[in-house]
């Protein structure tokens, strides 16, 4: 039975189970295992059950060391191909202080977030597993205050909190029949493939829109809980939308800014926007003056 058929069987079972409203992933996985055992292929059953768990969001997250290793690989290739870290230590310290301040409201206490401004004109920001957050010089240049910077960093932290890259890689791995994409820490070929796969999602194809919307919503909540004005990301996205015709980067790999602004407006209007919070335009302008 090939990978696609495995996917098909899992999908049929999922579709049936999904009709009941609540998905009991462990029971479903057990049913899949049993079905394959009856058919005489226990190994395929384990594979399908594991993939089903991944699809249902119950996947086992990468162990910390593997997450760190994958993140380092992605950080290295990102800096090598998308702009080096700007050699401005005062600026880098400033963005890290904003990042660490925001991270106090995040939940993954085991991560130490590391932020870097990269030497790229494009408008982009991305995050690698293990706590690596990158913001381009172009995007920082478009920002007007610290709340906007905090909003972008909080959005990236939200991707890491929800392990969106891991989830995306595992789903793709299943449906495309890839065998080794998430075995960082395995052999060199596996590691290289995992890093390349992560890069492809981050820089070429982008996340599924629902992951971006989820990161927007959670990011605004994190920024607000940290003490920053949660309107920051929304304001920056609105400005980015006006640049859409001229630039790539973020705009190529993220859903249309107008949709995101509308979603954020809806959420902010439900009360979050009334929390207030720091904006710090003057401190931001002073700290980022070297790149303007």
């Amino acid at each position: 039975m090939n990978k696609l058929m495995t996917a098909g069987l899992a999908a049929a079972l999922l579709a049936a189970a999904g009709c009941t409203g609540t998905l009991d992933s462990s029971a479903l996985q057990e049913s899949i295992r049993t079905g394959f055992e009856i058919a005489g292929n226990r190994e395929q059953g384990e594979q399908a059950a594991s993939a089903t768990g991944d699809l249902l969001g119950t996947f086992a997250p990468l162990p910390p060391e593997q997450e760190r290793a994958l993140g380092e690989g992605i950080a290295l290739t990102a800096l090598e191909t998308h702009g080096a870290r700007l050699p401005d230590e005062a600026l880098q310290r400033y963005v890290n202080l904003v990042g660490r301040s925001v991270a106090r409201a995040a939940s993954r206490a085991e991560l130490t977030y590391m932020v870097a401004v990269t030497d790229s004109d494009g408008y982009n920001a991305f995050a690698g597993p293990g706590g690596y957050v990158f913001v381009t010089r172009g995007l920082v240049g478009l920002m007007r205050n610290e709340a906007e910077l905090a909003g972008v960093i909080a959005h990236e932290i939200a991707h890491l909190e929800k392990r969106h890259l891991e989830q995306s890689m595992r789903r793709e791995q299943f449906f495309r029949g890839l065998q080794t994409a998430l075995r960082a820490g395995g052999n060199d070929t596996d590691y290289g493939q995992a890093v390349g796969f992560g890069q492809d999602i981050l820089f070429t194809r982008g996340y599924e829109p629902r992951f971006e919307f989820e990161a927007d919503a959670l990011g605004a909540q994190i920024a607000a809980a940290a003490g920053y004005d949660p309107n920051g990301l929304r304001d920056l996205l609105a400005r980015l939308g006006q640049q859409q015709a001229q630039n790539g980067g973020w705009l190529q790999t993220h859903p249309a800014s107008s949709r995101r602004v509308a979603e954020l407006n809806r959420m902010l209007g439900e009360g979050l926007g009334s929390l207030g919070g720091a904006v710090n335009e003057e401190r931001f302008q002073r700290a980022t003056a070297s790149i303007r």
Binding site: A10, R68, T77, A84, L97, S107, A225, L272, L275
Partner: protein, 171 residues
């Protein structure tokens, strides 16, 4: 077997996943919630400028006494009462990592200890191999190392001072 099936399944799952990640339910009086962020403040009143009654760590259990807009009036296990922003809570106790890197750079560690932490510093063997194989240059390795070193040098006291200077106050 047709390729359509996994695609249909993916769509169904996407819908199911999206609904599962919807807005978190608001707890009612008497229910227990947990601090979900790394830390959260309990305030005397529902105003963000009111005095802080206590600073709570991740996972602290709280009994909801009242819902007031975006905040809960809660009571801690030791009987302290105060207001907490609902965003900082969850219905289930958050998982915390206690092995390996877990707990590093948290409040209970001294600044000097944080500065000497090697936990986030130094590349893993897989990443070093990328340099040895010529996939990335030494300047790029230096960049990632600089990110790690900078992060390790920032203390809680420095973040506190930064927040105080900028008026960044948890609501």
């Amino acid at each position: 077997m047709n390729r359509t099936i996994p695609i249909v399944a993916a769509t169904l799952l996407a819908v199911a996943g999206a609904s599962a990640q919807g807005t978190q339910r608001t707890a009612t009086a008497g229910e227990t919630v947990f601090v979900s962020s790394r830390e959260a403040v309990l305030r005397q009143t529902s105003s963000p400028s009111s005095p802080v009654v206590a600073t709570l760590g991740q996972g602290a259990a709280l009994t909801v006494r009242e819902v007031q807009g975006l905040r809960y009036l809660v009571e801690t296990g030791t009987g302290q009462r105060g207001y907490i922003v609902r965003l900082n809570t969850s219905a289930t106790r958050p998982r915390t990592t206690t092995d390996g890197m877990g707990g590093l750079l948290r409040d209970d560690r001294g600044a000097a200890e944080q500065r000497t932490s090697g936990s986030i510093r130094g590349l893993r063997p897989e990443a070093i191999k990328m340099r040895e194989d010529g996939e990335v240059g030494s300047a790029t390795v230096d960049d990632v190392t600089a990110m790690q070193d900078l992060a390790a040098s920032i203390t809680d006291a420095e973040i506190d001072a930064f927040n105080a200077e900028g008026g960044v106050v948890a609501p």
